[in-house]
Symmetry: C2
C-alpha cells in the first residue's frame, strides 16, 4: 500500500478516511506505521494561498506530514552525498483529495506552498521536539536548489 516516492528514504503512505455523515474521521499515523520514528511533538502549520515556507532541512528530525484541510504543494531536494537520488528534486501535493502521509527523513531540503484559497493545514507528527540547533534554512532563491517556485 505504500507508494514510494522517488527520493531515497521519503515515503508516501495512503491513510484512511472513514466517512461519517456527522463528520469524517481521518487517520494520520499509528505507532506501528511505516515511517514512524518515535514521538517528540505534534504541531500544525497553516499556510495561506500562494505563500511559501521554504527551504528547511533537519539534521535529526523525521517529519510525518498530513494535510487534513486544503491543498499543499511540497517540494523536496536531495543533496545528501552518497544518496542514490543525490541532486534530485521532487514535488507532490497533499490534501483530502490525495490523502497520504508524507515521511521526510532528516537531511532532505523541503518547502511547501498553500494552494487552496481557504484554509491549508499541515500536521507534523515529529520524532523529536523542535530544536533550533538541528534546523537549517536557506533562502527561497538560491544557487543550490534547482527549483523555481
Amino acid at each position: 500500500m505504500d507508494k514510494l516516492v522517488y527520493i531515497e528514504g521519503v515515503i508516501l503512505t495512503p491513510e484512511k478516511i472513514i466517512s461519517n455523515r456527522r463528520g469524517d474521521i481521518y487517520h494520520a499515523i499509528k505507532i506501528y506505521s511505516k515511517g514512524y520514528q518515535g514521538f517528540g511533538e505534534v504541531y500544525f502549520s497553516f499556510i495561506t494561498k500562494n505563500s511559501i515556507k521554504a527551504w528547511k532541512k533537519h539534521i535529526r528530525m523525521t517529519l510525518n506530514l498530513v494535510v487534513p484541510v486544503g491543498k499543499i504543494k511540497f517540494v523536496l531536494f536531495d543533496d545528501r552525498i552518497g544518496s542514490t537520488t543525490y541532486g534530485s528534486t521532487e514535488e507532490l501535493s497533499l490534501g483530502p483529495d490525495n490523502y497520504c502521509r508524507l515521511t521526510i527523513p532528516h537531511g532532505i531540503w523541503y518547502g511547501f506552498q498553500g494552494l487552496d484559497s481557504d484554509i491549508n493545514l499541515l500536521c507534523n507528527v515529529a520524532n523529536m521536539v523542535h530544536d533550533d540547533a538541528e534546523c537549517q534554512s536557506m533562502e527561497l532563491s538560491n544557487h543550490i536548489i534547482p527549483y523555481s517556485w
Copy 2:
C-alpha cells in the same frame, strides 16, 4: 499555566500559537507535556455544525484533544465510583479563540458538537491505537447522563 477543569483528572492546557504572515504555527503536544501518556495514534475527527458525536468512554485510552480549526463544544461526565467529582458534568468549547489542549483520562464519558458553520476539526493524540474492545458508547439520550444537548 495549566488550567485545571473541574472533573478530577481532566486537564486543560493552553497551547502556543506562533503568528506568521504566511500562516500560523499551532503547538499541540510535546513528549514532556502535562497529560502526555505515551504515543499510540494520531487521528482527526471532523464534526459538522450542530452534529453531535456522543457518548463515548474509553477503558484504557487517554485523549489529548486540540481544535485547530472551527469551534467544538465538549461535554464530559464523571461516573467513576470514588472520584471526587462523581456525578459531575462539565462543558467547554475549544478552537483557535480558546486554543487549549484537553486531556481526557480513561473512564470519563464525553461527547462533542460542531459549533462553526464551516470546518470544525479535532485532532486526538492518543496514547494507544484505536481498539473497539476498550471503547464504550451510550445513546445520546439516556437515563444516566444528566445533560441535554
